[in-house]
C-alpha cells in the first residue's frame, strides 16, 4: 500500500466511524460539571454578597432591638431619656451639682429668672430646693437645654451617670451661665447641649474602655494558600467567614465562627496516603486536590496594645475542617502511559480540632461600634488532613469588618 492509500483509508475511517452512543450518559456528567463550573466561576461573588447581606441583616437586627440608641432622639426616646435622667437625678439627692445650685442663692440667678419668666408665683420656695425638672420641661423655652443634658447622659452611656463627673469646673453655678444671655436671660442657642459637664463627658467617652462592649461580630474574607510540605503553592482560593468574639477580660478574648472556602493543593505521591484499591498507585507521581471545606476556628486572643483607634493582638487556637466535597486527580508518571484519574468524594472527611491557628491581627476602630481588621494567619496541622491524610499547611490574609455590641 502506498502512503496515499493508507492516508485515504484512515481518513475515510475517521469520517465514517460511528462512535459509541453514550450521548445521554455523557451529557449527565457534562451537565454536572457545567453546574459546578457556574458555581466555581461566581463563587467569590456569591460569598461576598452573602457576607454583606449577612452583615446587614445581623447589624440591622442588633440596631433594631437596641434600646435608646438614637442620639438625636425620636419623640418617644426623648421622653424616655428625660424621664430616666430625671429619675437618676432625683435619686441622687446629694449630687454636688444641685447642692451647689440650691445652697447659694446668688449662684442660681438663672433658675430664678427661668421661674420668674415662667410665671411662678412663689419664687422663694423654689430657690431653696432642687429645680423641678418636670415643671421645667413643660416650658418649651427651657426644654431644649435640659433635654440635651439628659440626652448626653442617658444616651451616650447606658449606665447610670456618674454625677461626680458633673461637678462644675469653675466656681459653683457659673458653669451654667454661658447658657443664658446675661441681659435677655434667654438661652443661647449655640450653647445648647454644651453644658460644662457635657464637654467632660465627651472627653470621657473617648477613653471609655472597650470592655464595655464585650461582643463583636465579624465578617471576614480573604485569600488562602495551601501547601503540603511547602512543596508547591497553587493559586489562592477565596474564603469567607462569620466570627463572633467575646471579651472576657481586659486583654483576653475568645473567638469562634465558621469559614466557607476551598483548599486546593498539589502533593507529591509520597506524602499522600492512597487507599488499597487505588490502581497503579506506585506509578502515581503527583496528586492535585480541590476541596470545599467548612472551617470552624476556636481561638483565644491576647490584646497586645490598644488605644482609641488602633489595636494589635495575637491569637492562638485550633480549627476543625468539615470537607463538603473533595476532588482528587492522580497524575501518573509519564513513562507509564497512563492518563490522569479524577474522582470526587462528598461529606466523607472531617478533622476536629486538628489544625493550629496562629495569627497576629491589626484592628482599626472607625468608631466605638465599627472596626476594620487585617489578620494574616498560619494554619499548621496536628494530624493528617482529608482523604489523603496529608500534612497540609495553610496561610492567608483575613480582611473584614467588625461590629461591637
Amino acid at each position: 500500500m502506498s502512503e496515499e492509500e493508507i492516508d485515504a483509508l484512515f481518513q475515510e475511517a475517521a469520517s465514517s466511524f460511528q462512535p459509541p452512543d453514550k450521548k445521554k450518559e455523557i451529557w449527565g456528567l457534562l451537565e454536572r460539571r457545567l453546574n459546578k463550573n457556574v458555581w466555581h466561576q461566581h463563587r467569590n461573588i456569591y460569598r461576598i454578597t452573602a457576607a454583606v447581606l449577612m452583615f446587614l441583616i445581623v447589624a440591622g437586627i442588633i440596631l433594631y432591638f437596641r434600646p435608646e440608641r438614637n442620639i438625636n432622639g425620636t419623640k418617644k426616646n426623648l421622653t424616655e431619656g428625660i424621664l430616666k435622667g430625671q429619675r437618676n437625678m432625683e435619686n441622687n439627692q446629694k449630687s454636688d451639682n444641685y447642692n451647689l445650685l440650691s445652697k447659694k442663692r446668688g449662684t442660681v440667678n438663672h433658675w430664678e429668672n427661668i421661674y420668674a419668666r415662667k410665671g411662678f408665683k412663689n419664687q422663694s420656695s423654689t430657690l431653696n430646693k432642687k429645680p423641678d425638672t418636670k415643671e421645667l420641661n413643660n416650658n418649651h423655652n427651657h426644654k431644649v437645654p435640659i433635654v440635651q443634658s439628659m440626652n448626653s447622659i442617658t444616651f451616650f452611656s447606658k449606665k447610670k451617670p456618674d454625677y461626680k463627673q458633673l461637678q462644675p469646673i469653675s466656681s459653683p453655678g457659673t458653669q451654667y451661665q454661658h447658657l443664658f444671655d446675661n441681659k435677655s436671660h434667654q438661652p443661647v442657642k449655640e450653647s445648647i447641649g454644651s453644658l460644662a459637664f457635657s464637654k467632660r463627658t465627651k472627653n470621657d467617652k473617648k477613653k471609655e474602655p472597650e470592655s464595655e462592649r464585650p461582643y463583636s461580630l465579624q465578617i471576614i474574607t480573604g485569600p488562602d494558600w495551601c501547601t503540603v510540605k511547602l512543596r508547591q503553592w497553587r493559586k489562592p482560593t477565596w474564603n469567607i467567614g462569620l466570627l463572633v468574639r467575646y471579651r472576657f477580660a481586659s486583654r483576653w478574648t475568645v473567638e469562634t465562627g465558621i469559614f466557607n472556602g476551598d483548599k486546593d493543593y498539589n502533593s507529591h505521591s509520597k506524602y499522600f496516603k492512597f487507599s488499597d484499591n487505588t490502581p497503579d498507585r506506585d506509578d502515581i507521581n503527583e496528586v492535585s486536590a480541590e476541596s470545599h471545606v467548612l472551617t470552624v476556628p476556636l481561638d483565644i486572643i491576647y490584646n497586645l496594645s490598644q488605644n482609641e483607634h488602633h489595636s494589635l493582638s495575637i491569637s492562638l487556637g485550633l480549627s476543625s475542617y468539615w470537607f463538603l466535597t473533595e476532588e482528587y486527580t492522580y497524575h501518573y508518571k509519564g513513562s507509564t502511559g497512563l492518563t490522569d484519574k479524577h474522582f470526587e468524594l462528598e461529606n466523607i472527611n472531617k478533622n476536629i480540632l486538628s489544625i493550629i491557628n496562629i495569627s497576629p491581627a491589626y484592628e482599626y476602630y472607625l468608631n466605638k461600634r465599627v472596626s476594620f481588621i487585617a489578620e494574616p494567619y498560619f494554619q499548621l496541622p496536628v494530624s493528617k488532613i482529608g482523604y489523603g491524610s496529608v500534612s497540609m499547611q495553610s496561610a492567608g490574609l483575613n480582611i473584614g469588618a467588625a461590629y461591637h455590641f
Binding site: 475517521a14 502511559g337 490522569d340 479524577h342
Partner: protein, 188 residues
C-alpha cells in the same frame, strides 16, 4: 436549510447566554463529530469520553468568542471547524499532560494487534478496527498522524503544537505510516 441555520444561530445565542437547553442542543449536534476526533488521539474509549467532556466545557466557556461568519450558510461549517480545533487541542493537551516525560523520538514497543482476519482489508475491515489501529500507535506517532493526515495540520503547525521540530514531525509521520502498514498486513 434556512430553518436549520436559524435553529443553529438560535442555539448559538442561547449558548452565549449560558442556557442549558441550548448547550445540550449544541452537544447533541456535535457529539459524534467530537467523539470521532477525540477517540483518535487517546488510547481507549474511556479517555476519549473524558477528553470530549473537557472539550465541550471549553466550547461552552469560549463560545462567547466565536464569531459566526457573515454568510449564514457557512455557520455550521465554521462552527464545526471551531469545535474540531478545540477538540483536537484538548485531546493533545490531555495527552501531553499525562505524557510529560515521554520522548517524542523514542522507540516504541509495537503492540501486537489481534483482530479477526479479513481477506480484503480495504473492503471489509471495519472502521472501528482502523481507529483501534490508530489508538495502538505510540502517542508521538499517533498525534502526528492524526494531525497531519486526518485533521490537515502542516508540519510547522504540528511542530509548534507538540513542541517538537519539523523534522521530528516528518519522521514520526513516516514511522506512523509504516506501523499502520504493518498492522494492516498482520491483520490480513
Amino acid at each position: 436549510m434556512g430553518v436549520q441555520h436559524e435553529g443553529l444561530i438560535h442555539v448559538l445565542q442561547g449558548c452565549k447566554q449560558g442556557q442549558r437547553d441550548s448547550q445540550q442542543a449544541l452537544y447533541n449536534r456535535f457529539y459524534k463529530l467530537s467523539m470521532r476526533i477525540c477517540v483518535r488521539y487517546v488510547r481507549n474509549e474511556e479517555d476519549a469520553l473524558e477528553a470530549m467532556q473537557d472539550g465541550f466545557i471549553k466550547v461552552f466557556r469560549q463560545i462567547k468568542n466565536f464569531e459566526p461568519p457573515r454568510d449564514p450558510d457557512m455557520t455550521c461549517a465554521s462552527l464545526y471547524g471551531w469545535i474540531r480545533k478545540i477538540m483536537v487541542y484538548t485531546s493533545i493537551n490531555q495527552f501531553r499532560k499525562s505524557q510529560r516525560q515521554i520522548s517524542w523520538e523514542g522507540e516504541e514497543k509495537l503492540m501486537h494487534y489481534e483482530t479477526a482476519t479479513n481477506e480484503n482489508p480495504l473492503d471489509k475491515m471495519a472502521y472501528e478496527d482502523l481507529i483501534k489501529m490508530i489508538q495502538q500507535l505510540t502517542p508521538a506517532y499517533r498525534s502526528v498522524f492524526n494531525l497531519f493526515v486526518i485533521d490537515g495540520f502542516s508540519h510547522e503547525e504540528i511542530a509548534g503544537l507538540l513542541n517538537i521540530s519539523v523534522s521530528t514531525s516528518k519522521s514520526n509521520l513516516l514511522r506512523a505510516r509504516e506501523k499502520l502498514r504493518q498492522m494492516i498486513k498482520n491483520d490480513t
